[in-house]
Protein backbone atom coordinates (compact mmCIF):
# COMPACT_ATOMS: atom_id res chain seq x y z
CA UNK A 1 0.00 0.00 0.00
CA UNK A 2 2.66 2.48 1.12
CA UNK A 3 4.92 1.40 -1.71
CA UNK A 4 2.15 1.98 -4.21
CA UNK A 5 1.60 5.51 -2.94
CA UNK A 6 5.31 6.26 -3.18
CA UNK A 7 5.40 4.96 -6.73
CA UNK A 8 2.39 7.07 -7.61
CA UNK A 9 3.98 10.14 -6.02
CA UNK A 10 7.23 9.62 -7.95
CA UNK A 11 5.36 9.10 -11.20
CA UNK A 12 3.14 12.14 -10.83
CA UNK A 13 5.50 14.71 -9.37
CA UNK A 14 9.12 13.66 -9.67
CA UNK A 15 9.29 12.02 -13.09
CA UNK A 16 9.91 14.53 -15.87
CA UNK A 17 9.90 17.21 -13.16
CA UNK A 18 6.12 17.23 -13.16
CA UNK A 19 6.08 19.04 -9.78
CA UNK A 20 6.86 22.15 -11.79
CA UNK A 21 3.30 22.11 -13.12
CA UNK A 22 2.10 22.35 -9.56
CA UNK A 23 4.43 25.16 -8.45
CA UNK A 24 3.88 27.17 -11.64
CA UNK A 25 0.13 26.66 -11.31
CA UNK A 26 0.20 27.66 -7.66
CA UNK A 27 1.99 30.89 -8.53
CA UNK A 28 -0.64 31.68 -11.19
CA UNK A 29 -3.48 30.94 -8.74
CA UNK A 30 -1.93 33.17 -6.09
CA UNK A 31 -1.23 35.92 -8.60
CA UNK A 32 -4.76 35.92 -9.95
CA UNK A 33 -6.31 35.75 -6.47
CA UNK A 34 -4.11 38.47 -5.01
CA UNK A 35 -4.71 41.02 -7.75
CA UNK A 36 -8.39 40.10 -8.12
CA UNK A 37 -8.82 40.73 -4.38
CA UNK A 38 -7.28 44.18 -4.81
CA UNK A 39 -9.51 44.97 -7.80
CA UNK A 40 -12.50 43.58 -5.86
CA UNK A 41 -11.83 45.67 -2.76
CA UNK A 42 -11.32 48.80 -4.83
CA UNK A 43 -14.49 48.30 -6.88
CA UNK A 44 -16.46 47.09 -3.86
CA UNK A 45 -15.53 50.16 -1.83
CA UNK A 46 -16.46 52.49 -4.65
CA UNK A 47 -19.83 50.85 -5.25
CA UNK A 48 -20.58 50.56 -1.52
CA UNK A 49 -19.84 54.27 -1.02
CA UNK A 50 -22.09 55.28 -3.91
CA UNK A 51 -24.90 53.02 -2.74
CA UNK A 52 -24.80 54.00 0.92
CA UNK A 53 -24.46 57.69 0.06
CA UNK A 54 -27.60 57.30 -1.99
CA UNK A 55 -29.33 55.42 0.84
CA UNK A 56 -28.39 58.04 3.41
CA UNK A 57 -28.70 61.29 1.47
CA UNK A 58 -30.56 60.58 -1.78
CA UNK A 59 -27.66 61.99 -3.79
CA UNK A 60 -25.78 60.26 -6.66
CA UNK A 61 -28.97 58.91 -8.22
CA UNK A 62 -27.49 58.11 -11.65
CA UNK A 63 -24.34 56.51 -10.25
CA UNK A 64 -26.48 54.47 -7.88
CA UNK A 65 -28.55 53.17 -10.79
CA UNK A 66 -25.36 52.18 -12.62
CA UNK A 67 -24.09 50.39 -9.53
CA UNK A 68 -27.38 48.54 -9.21
CA UNK A 69 -27.10 47.40 -12.81
CA UNK A 70 -23.54 46.18 -12.16
CA UNK A 71 -24.63 44.25 -9.06
CA UNK A 72 -27.61 42.69 -10.82
CA UNK A 73 -25.64 41.52 -13.85
CA UNK A 74 -22.60 40.24 -11.97
CA UNK A 75 -24.52 38.48 -9.25
CA UNK A 76 -27.05 37.13 -11.69
CA UNK A 77 -24.65 35.29 -14.02
CA UNK A 78 -22.12 32.50 -13.40
CA UNK A 79 -18.49 33.51 -12.94
CA UNK A 80 -17.37 31.02 -15.62
CA UNK A 81 -19.60 32.70 -18.18
CA UNK A 82 -18.26 36.10 -17.12
CA UNK A 83 -14.70 34.81 -17.51
CA UNK A 84 -15.42 33.42 -20.98
CA UNK A 85 -17.12 36.63 -22.10
CA UNK A 86 -14.21 38.69 -20.80
CA UNK A 87 -11.70 36.55 -22.70
CA UNK A 88 -13.51 35.69 -25.93
CA UNK A 89 -15.82 38.69 -26.38
CA UNK A 90 -14.40 41.75 -24.65
CA UNK A 91 -10.73 40.95 -25.29
CA UNK A 92 -11.49 38.56 -28.18
CA UNK A 93 -9.67 40.53 -30.83
CA UNK A 94 -6.68 41.69 -28.81
CA UNK A 95 -3.67 39.75 -27.70
CA UNK A 96 -3.73 40.01 -23.95
CA UNK A 97 -2.12 38.14 -21.07
CA UNK A 98 -4.52 35.52 -19.73
CA UNK A 99 -3.53 36.26 -16.15
CA UNK A 100 -4.65 39.84 -16.68
CA UNK A 101 -7.95 38.65 -18.16
CA UNK A 102 -8.53 36.42 -15.15
CA UNK A 103 -7.66 39.23 -12.71
CA UNK A 104 -10.12 41.54 -14.44
CA UNK A 105 -12.92 38.97 -14.63
CA UNK A 106 -12.54 37.67 -11.07
CA UNK A 107 -11.91 41.17 -9.71
CA UNK A 108 -15.08 42.57 -11.26
CA UNK A 109 -17.00 39.55 -10.03
CA UNK A 110 -15.69 39.80 -6.47
CA UNK A 111 -16.27 43.56 -6.40
CA UNK A 112 -20.02 43.01 -6.55
CA UNK A 113 -20.01 40.78 -3.49
CA UNK A 114 -17.53 42.95 -1.59
CA UNK A 115 -19.72 46.00 -2.32
CA UNK A 116 -22.76 44.43 -0.72
CA UNK A 117 -20.75 43.21 2.27
CA UNK A 118 -19.27 46.66 2.92
CA UNK A 119 -22.61 48.37 2.38
CA UNK A 120 -24.26 46.10 4.92
CA UNK A 121 -21.43 47.00 7.31
CA UNK A 122 -21.99 50.73 6.78
CA UNK A 123 -25.72 50.34 7.32
CA UNK A 124 -25.11 48.33 10.51
CA UNK A 125 -23.40 51.30 12.19
CA UNK A 126 -25.88 53.31 14.24
CA UNK A 127 -26.97 56.56 12.59
CA UNK A 128 -26.14 58.38 15.84
CA UNK A 129 -22.46 57.79 15.03
CA UNK A 130 -22.99 59.60 11.77
CA UNK A 131 -24.76 62.50 13.45
CA UNK A 132 -22.07 62.75 16.12
CA UNK A 133 -19.40 63.00 13.43
CA UNK A 134 -21.29 65.61 11.45
CA UNK A 135 -22.11 67.63 14.57
CA UNK A 136 -18.40 67.94 15.36
CA UNK A 137 -17.92 69.48 11.93
CA UNK A 138 -16.68 66.48 9.94
CA UNK A 139 -17.80 66.45 6.31
CA UNK A 140 -19.83 63.53 5.01
CA UNK A 141 -16.67 62.00 3.52
CA UNK A 142 -14.51 62.46 6.62
CA UNK A 143 -17.26 61.08 8.87
CA UNK A 144 -17.30 57.98 6.67
CA UNK A 145 -13.52 57.69 6.72
CA UNK A 146 -12.76 58.25 10.40
CA UNK A 147 -15.94 57.12 12.13
CA UNK A 148 -18.20 54.87 10.07
CA UNK A 149 -15.84 52.75 7.96
CA UNK A 150 -13.55 51.59 10.80
CA UNK A 151 -16.60 50.28 12.65
CA UNK A 152 -18.24 48.90 9.51
CA UNK A 153 -15.13 47.00 8.43
CA UNK A 154 -14.71 45.47 11.87
CA UNK A 155 -18.30 44.25 11.73
CA UNK A 156 -17.96 42.66 8.30
CA UNK A 157 -14.44 41.27 8.61
CA UNK A 158 -15.62 37.63 8.84
CA UNK A 159 -17.88 38.06 5.80
CA UNK A 160 -15.08 39.73 3.83
CA UNK A 161 -12.63 36.97 4.74
CA UNK A 162 -15.17 34.44 3.56
CA UNK A 163 -15.52 36.26 0.24
CA UNK A 164 -11.75 36.07 -0.32
CA UNK A 165 -11.74 32.35 0.45
CA UNK A 166 -14.53 31.89 -2.09
CA UNK A 167 -12.55 33.93 -4.61
CA UNK A 168 -9.39 31.86 -4.09
CA UNK A 169 -11.34 28.69 -4.83
CA UNK A 170 -13.31 30.22 -7.70
CA UNK A 171 -10.12 30.96 -9.61
CA UNK A 172 -9.97 27.20 -10.17
CA UNK A 173 -12.22 27.70 -13.21
CA UNK A 174 -9.46 29.73 -14.90
CA UNK A 175 -8.69 26.59 -16.89
CA UNK A 176 -11.71 27.46 -19.07
CA UNK A 177 -9.58 30.08 -20.80
CA UNK A 178 -6.60 27.68 -20.82
CA UNK A 179 -4.83 29.46 -18.01
CA UNK A 180 -2.61 26.95 -16.22
CA UNK A 181 -3.54 27.59 -12.62
CA UNK A 182 -3.21 25.09 -9.78
CA UNK A 183 -6.31 23.10 -10.73
CA UNK A 184 -5.34 22.96 -14.38
CA UNK A 185 -1.85 21.82 -13.34
CA UNK A 186 -3.28 18.84 -11.48
CA UNK A 187 -5.46 18.04 -14.46
CA UNK A 188 -2.52 18.20 -16.89
CA UNK A 189 -0.56 15.76 -14.74
CA UNK A 190 -3.60 13.48 -14.62
CA UNK A 191 -3.80 13.45 -18.41
CA UNK A 192 -0.08 12.63 -18.68
CA UNK A 193 0.05 9.85 -16.10
CA UNK A 194 -3.51 8.52 -16.32
CA UNK A 195 -3.48 8.68 -12.50
CA UNK A 196 -6.33 10.78 -11.12
CA UNK A 197 -6.01 10.19 -7.38
CA UNK A 198 -2.57 11.57 -6.55
CA UNK A 199 -2.50 14.85 -8.51
CA UNK A 200 -6.07 15.86 -7.69
CA UNK A 201 -5.80 15.03 -3.99
CA UNK A 202 -2.55 16.98 -3.73
CA UNK A 203 -4.16 19.95 -5.48
CA UNK A 204 -7.10 19.78 -3.09
CA UNK A 205 -4.74 19.64 -0.10
CA UNK A 206 -2.84 22.69 -1.30
CA UNK A 207 -6.11 24.69 -1.56
CA UNK A 208 -7.12 23.48 1.88
CA UNK A 209 -3.79 24.47 3.38
CA UNK A 210 -4.00 27.96 1.88
CA UNK A 211 -7.50 28.51 3.20
CA UNK A 212 -6.55 27.27 6.68
CA UNK A 213 -3.52 29.55 6.74
CA UNK A 214 -5.63 32.51 5.64
CA UNK A 215 -8.24 31.72 8.28
CA UNK A 216 -5.55 31.67 10.93
CA UNK A 217 -4.41 35.19 10.04
CA UNK A 218 -7.99 36.47 9.96
CA UNK A 219 -8.59 35.05 13.44
CA UNK A 220 -5.50 36.86 14.71
CA UNK A 221 -6.70 40.10 13.17
CA UNK A 222 -10.18 39.70 14.63
CA UNK A 223 -8.75 39.12 18.07
CA UNK A 224 -6.71 42.31 17.86
CA UNK A 225 -9.71 44.32 16.73
CA UNK A 226 -11.83 42.95 19.54
CA UNK A 227 -9.97 45.18 22.03
CA UNK A 228 -12.48 47.93 21.46
CA UNK A 229 -15.53 45.64 21.58
CA UNK A 230 -18.61 47.58 22.46
Amino acid sequence: MFGKLTDSFLLNFVKEERWKYITDGLIITLEVTFFAVIVGIFLGFLVAMVRSTYDKTGKLKVLNALCNLYLTVIRGTPVVVQLLITYFVIFGSVNIDKVLVAVIAFGINSGAYVAEIIRSGIMSVDNGQFEAGRSLGFSYFKTMLYIILPQALKNVLPALANEFIVLLKETSVAGYIALQDLTKAGDIIRSRTYDAFMPLIVVALIYLLMVMLFNYFVKQLERRLRNSEH
Binding site: D126, G128, L136, G137, S228, H230
Partner: protein, 249 residues
Protein backbone atom coordinates in the same frame (compact mmCIF):
# COMPACT_ATOMS: atom_id res chain seq x y z
CA UNK B 1 -39.83 88.51 27.77
CA UNK B 2 -36.29 89.09 28.93
CA UNK B 3 -34.65 90.26 25.74
CA UNK B 4 -31.77 92.60 26.23
CA UNK B 5 -31.79 94.98 23.26
CA UNK B 6 -28.13 95.93 23.57
CA UNK B 7 -26.73 92.45 22.97
CA UNK B 8 -26.35 91.08 19.46
CA UNK B 9 -28.01 87.69 19.06
CA UNK B 10 -25.67 84.73 18.68
CA UNK B 11 -28.39 82.74 16.96
CA UNK B 12 -31.25 84.44 15.18
CA UNK B 13 -34.06 82.12 14.15
CA UNK B 14 -36.54 83.59 11.71
CA UNK B 15 -39.75 81.79 10.70
CA UNK B 16 -38.12 78.38 10.97
CA UNK B 17 -40.42 75.75 9.50
CA UNK B 18 -39.99 72.03 9.17
CA UNK B 19 -42.44 69.79 7.41
CA UNK B 20 -42.26 66.00 7.22
CA UNK B 21 -44.49 65.24 4.25
CA UNK B 22 -47.86 66.54 5.51
CA UNK B 23 -46.92 66.85 9.17
CA UNK B 24 -45.71 70.26 10.32
CA UNK B 25 -43.11 69.66 13.01
CA UNK B 26 -42.02 73.29 13.30
CA UNK B 27 -44.45 76.04 12.48
CA UNK B 28 -42.71 79.33 11.77
CA UNK B 29 -40.51 79.56 14.87
CA UNK B 30 -38.72 82.84 15.55
CA UNK B 31 -36.40 83.42 18.47
CA UNK B 32 -33.16 85.20 19.28
CA UNK B 33 -30.56 83.49 21.42
CA UNK B 34 -27.96 85.76 22.95
CA UNK B 35 -24.45 85.15 24.14
CA UNK B 36 -24.51 83.72 27.66
CA UNK B 37 -28.14 82.68 27.39
CA UNK B 38 -29.12 79.40 28.99
CA UNK B 39 -32.32 78.57 27.15
CA UNK B 40 -34.31 75.55 28.25
CA UNK B 41 -36.89 74.15 25.84
CA UNK B 42 -39.65 72.07 27.41
CA UNK B 43 -42.88 70.63 26.13
CA UNK B 44 -44.82 67.42 25.54
CA UNK B 45 -43.30 64.74 23.30
CA UNK B 46 -43.97 65.41 19.66
CA UNK B 47 -44.07 69.15 20.26
CA UNK B 48 -41.07 69.66 17.97
CA UNK B 49 -38.52 70.65 20.59
CA UNK B 50 -35.90 68.10 19.51
CA UNK B 51 -36.53 68.88 15.86
CA UNK B 52 -36.02 72.57 16.66
CA UNK B 53 -32.68 71.84 18.32
CA UNK B 54 -31.54 69.59 15.50
CA UNK B 55 -32.46 72.23 12.94
CA UNK B 56 -30.16 74.73 14.67
CA UNK B 57 -27.05 72.91 13.41
CA UNK B 58 -28.85 71.46 10.39
CA UNK B 59 -28.70 67.82 11.43
CA UNK B 60 -32.30 68.19 10.40
CA UNK B 61 -32.84 70.31 7.29
CA UNK B 62 -35.50 72.94 7.71
CA UNK B 63 -38.05 73.42 4.94
CA UNK B 64 -38.52 77.15 5.46
CA UNK B 65 -37.17 80.19 7.26
CA UNK B 66 -33.63 81.21 8.15
CA UNK B 67 -31.11 80.65 10.90
CA UNK B 68 -28.41 83.27 11.38
CA UNK B 69 -25.48 82.06 13.44
CA UNK B 70 -22.93 84.72 14.34
CA UNK B 71 -24.47 86.86 11.62
CA UNK B 72 -24.19 84.25 8.87
CA UNK B 73 -27.19 82.59 7.29
CA UNK B 74 -26.38 78.92 7.82
CA UNK B 75 -29.56 77.73 6.11
CA UNK B 76 -28.09 79.10 2.89
CA UNK B 77 -27.18 76.21 0.55
CA UNK B 78 -23.84 77.79 -0.23
CA UNK B 79 -22.58 78.18 3.32
CA UNK B 80 -20.01 75.68 4.58
CA UNK B 81 -22.06 74.13 7.35
CA UNK B 82 -19.18 71.91 8.51
CA UNK B 83 -17.22 75.00 9.51
CA UNK B 84 -20.10 76.44 11.53
CA UNK B 85 -20.90 73.13 13.20
CA UNK B 86 -17.46 73.23 14.80
CA UNK B 87 -18.73 76.25 16.74
CA UNK B 88 -21.94 74.49 17.81
CA UNK B 89 -21.28 71.65 20.21
CA UNK B 90 -23.98 69.01 20.39
CA UNK B 91 -24.77 66.46 23.09
CA UNK B 92 -27.11 63.60 22.24
CA UNK B 93 -29.52 61.56 24.31
CA UNK B 94 -27.69 58.36 23.32
CA UNK B 95 -24.17 59.85 23.91
CA UNK B 96 -22.92 58.63 20.51
CA UNK B 97 -19.32 58.25 21.58
CA UNK B 98 -17.12 56.54 18.98
CA UNK B 99 -16.80 52.97 20.31
CA UNK B 100 -13.69 52.10 18.29
CA UNK B 101 -11.61 54.87 19.86
CA UNK B 102 -10.26 55.46 23.34
CA UNK B 103 -11.76 58.35 25.30
CA UNK B 104 -8.68 60.43 24.52
CA UNK B 105 -9.08 59.73 20.78
CA UNK B 106 -12.78 60.58 20.99
CA UNK B 107 -11.85 63.94 22.46
CA UNK B 108 -8.93 64.82 20.21
CA UNK B 109 -9.96 63.59 16.76
CA UNK B 110 -11.99 66.74 16.05
CA UNK B 111 -9.39 69.30 17.14
CA UNK B 112 -6.58 67.36 15.39
CA UNK B 113 -8.33 66.63 12.09
CA UNK B 114 -10.47 69.76 11.80
CA UNK B 115 -8.62 72.51 13.63
CA UNK B 116 -5.05 71.49 12.83
CA UNK B 117 -4.10 71.22 16.48
CA UNK B 118 -0.99 69.22 17.31
CA UNK B 119 -1.57 65.94 19.15
CA UNK B 120 0.14 67.29 22.27
CA UNK B 121 -1.89 70.47 22.26
CA UNK B 122 -5.20 68.63 21.74
CA UNK B 123 -4.41 66.06 24.43
CA UNK B 124 -3.39 68.71 26.94
CA UNK B 125 -6.67 70.54 26.40
CA UNK B 126 -8.65 67.28 26.59
CA UNK B 127 -6.87 66.34 29.82
CA UNK B 128 -7.67 69.73 31.34
CA UNK B 129 -11.36 69.26 30.56
CA UNK B 130 -11.34 65.64 31.71
CA UNK B 131 -10.00 66.77 35.05
CA UNK B 132 -12.75 69.34 35.26
CA UNK B 133 -15.42 66.63 34.94
CA UNK B 134 -13.48 64.22 37.15
CA UNK B 135 -12.68 61.60 34.52
CA UNK B 136 -8.97 62.15 33.93
CA UNK B 137 -8.22 58.57 34.98
CA UNK B 138 -10.42 57.18 32.16
CA UNK B 139 -8.53 58.79 29.28
CA UNK B 140 -7.24 55.48 27.92
CA UNK B 141 -10.47 53.52 28.46
CA UNK B 142 -12.92 52.65 25.69
CA UNK B 143 -16.51 53.95 25.82
CA UNK B 144 -17.86 50.44 26.50
CA UNK B 145 -15.99 50.44 29.82
CA UNK B 146 -17.83 53.53 31.08
CA UNK B 147 -21.16 54.00 32.84
CA UNK B 148 -23.93 56.00 31.18
CA UNK B 149 -23.26 59.06 33.30
CA UNK B 150 -19.56 58.91 32.53
CA UNK B 151 -20.29 58.50 28.82
CA UNK B 152 -22.46 61.59 28.79
CA UNK B 153 -19.86 63.65 30.66
CA UNK B 154 -17.30 62.53 28.05
CA UNK B 155 -19.73 63.46 25.27
CA UNK B 156 -20.00 66.95 26.75
CA UNK B 157 -16.21 67.21 26.96
CA UNK B 158 -15.91 66.01 23.36
CA UNK B 159 -18.09 68.89 22.22
CA UNK B 160 -16.20 71.35 24.46
CA UNK B 161 -12.84 70.31 22.99
CA UNK B 162 -13.88 72.04 19.75
CA UNK B 163 -14.20 75.30 21.72
CA UNK B 164 -17.78 75.94 20.62
CA UNK B 165 -19.63 79.23 21.02
CA UNK B 166 -22.88 77.46 21.86
CA UNK B 167 -23.76 74.05 23.26
CA UNK B 168 -26.90 72.21 22.16
CA UNK B 169 -28.24 69.51 24.49
CA UNK B 170 -30.81 67.06 23.17
CA UNK B 171 -32.38 65.41 26.25
CA UNK B 172 -28.96 64.70 27.74
CA UNK B 173 -30.24 62.83 30.80
CA UNK B 174 -33.21 60.94 29.33
CA UNK B 175 -31.24 57.73 28.65
CA UNK B 176 -29.56 57.66 32.06
CA UNK B 177 -30.29 55.64 35.17
CA UNK B 178 -31.72 58.00 37.80
CA UNK B 179 -28.66 57.84 40.04
CA UNK B 180 -26.46 59.07 37.18
CA UNK B 181 -28.51 62.10 36.23
CA UNK B 182 -26.96 64.25 38.94
CA UNK B 183 -23.37 63.94 37.76
CA UNK B 184 -24.32 65.07 34.24
CA UNK B 185 -26.45 67.96 35.49
CA UNK B 186 -23.52 69.05 37.69
CA UNK B 187 -21.31 69.40 34.61
CA UNK B 188 -24.02 71.36 32.80
CA UNK B 189 -24.52 73.63 35.79
CA UNK B 190 -20.80 74.24 35.87
CA UNK B 191 -20.90 75.20 32.17
CA UNK B 192 -23.80 77.58 32.69
CA UNK B 193 -21.98 79.29 35.55
CA UNK B 194 -19.04 79.65 33.19
CA UNK B 195 -21.29 81.75 30.90
CA UNK B 196 -21.45 79.16 28.12
CA UNK B 197 -24.37 79.80 25.78
CA UNK B 198 -26.62 76.76 26.00
CA UNK B 199 -29.82 75.50 24.42
CA UNK B 200 -31.18 72.54 26.36
CA UNK B 201 -34.10 70.29 25.49
CA UNK B 202 -35.01 68.43 28.64
CA UNK B 203 -37.68 66.98 30.91
CA UNK B 204 -35.76 67.97 34.06
CA UNK B 205 -38.07 70.78 35.20
CA UNK B 206 -36.35 71.35 38.55
CA UNK B 207 -33.03 71.72 36.80
CA UNK B 208 -34.52 74.13 34.27
CA UNK B 209 -35.91 76.30 37.02
CA UNK B 210 -32.54 76.41 38.74
CA UNK B 211 -30.12 76.91 35.84
CA UNK B 212 -32.01 78.55 32.94
CA UNK B 213 -32.29 82.25 32.36
CA UNK B 214 -35.05 81.67 29.79
CA UNK B 215 -37.52 78.82 29.50
CA UNK B 216 -39.49 78.13 26.36
CA UNK B 217 -42.62 76.03 26.16
CA UNK B 218 -43.26 74.38 22.82
CA UNK B 219 -46.40 72.61 21.66
CA UNK B 220 -47.56 71.56 18.20
CA UNK B 221 -44.45 72.98 16.56
CA UNK B 222 -44.92 76.46 17.99
CA UNK B 223 -43.40 78.45 20.83
CA UNK B 224 -46.43 78.86 23.05
CA UNK B 225 -44.86 80.68 25.96
CA UNK B 226 -41.51 82.07 27.01
CA UNK B 227 -40.46 83.53 30.33
CA UNK B 228 -37.73 83.72 32.92
CA UNK B 229 -37.80 80.51 34.95
CA UNK B 230 -39.46 81.68 38.16
CA UNK B 231 -42.40 83.28 36.42
CA UNK B 232 -42.53 80.44 33.88
CA UNK B 233 -43.05 77.77 36.54
CA UNK B 234 -44.87 79.80 39.21
CA UNK B 235 -47.18 81.87 37.04
CA UNK B 236 -47.75 80.18 33.69
CA UNK B 237 -49.84 82.43 31.45
CA UNK B 238 -51.33 80.10 28.85
CA UNK B 239 -53.73 77.29 29.51
CA UNK B 240 -51.53 74.87 27.53
CA UNK B 241 -48.57 75.49 29.81
CA UNK B 242 -50.71 75.37 32.94
CA UNK B 243 -52.04 71.96 32.02
CA UNK B 244 -48.57 70.74 30.97
CA UNK B 245 -47.00 71.83 34.25
CA UNK B 246 -49.79 70.33 36.28
CA UNK B 247 -48.97 66.96 34.70
CA UNK B 248 -45.18 67.02 35.03
CA UNK B 249 -44.55 68.83 38.32
Amino acid sequence: MSIDMERKPLIEVVDLTKKFHKLTALDSISINIYEGDVVFVVGPSGSGKSTFLRCLNRLEESTGGNILFEGINITDEKCDIDKHRQKMGMVFQQFNLFPHMTIMKNLTIGPIKLQNKSKEEAEAEAMRLLERVGLADRAQAYPSQLSGGQKQRIAIVRALCMKPDVMLFDEPTSALDPEMVGEVLAVMRDLAEDKMTMVVVTHEMGFAKEVANRVIFMADGKIVEENEPKAFFDHPQTERLQSFLSKVL
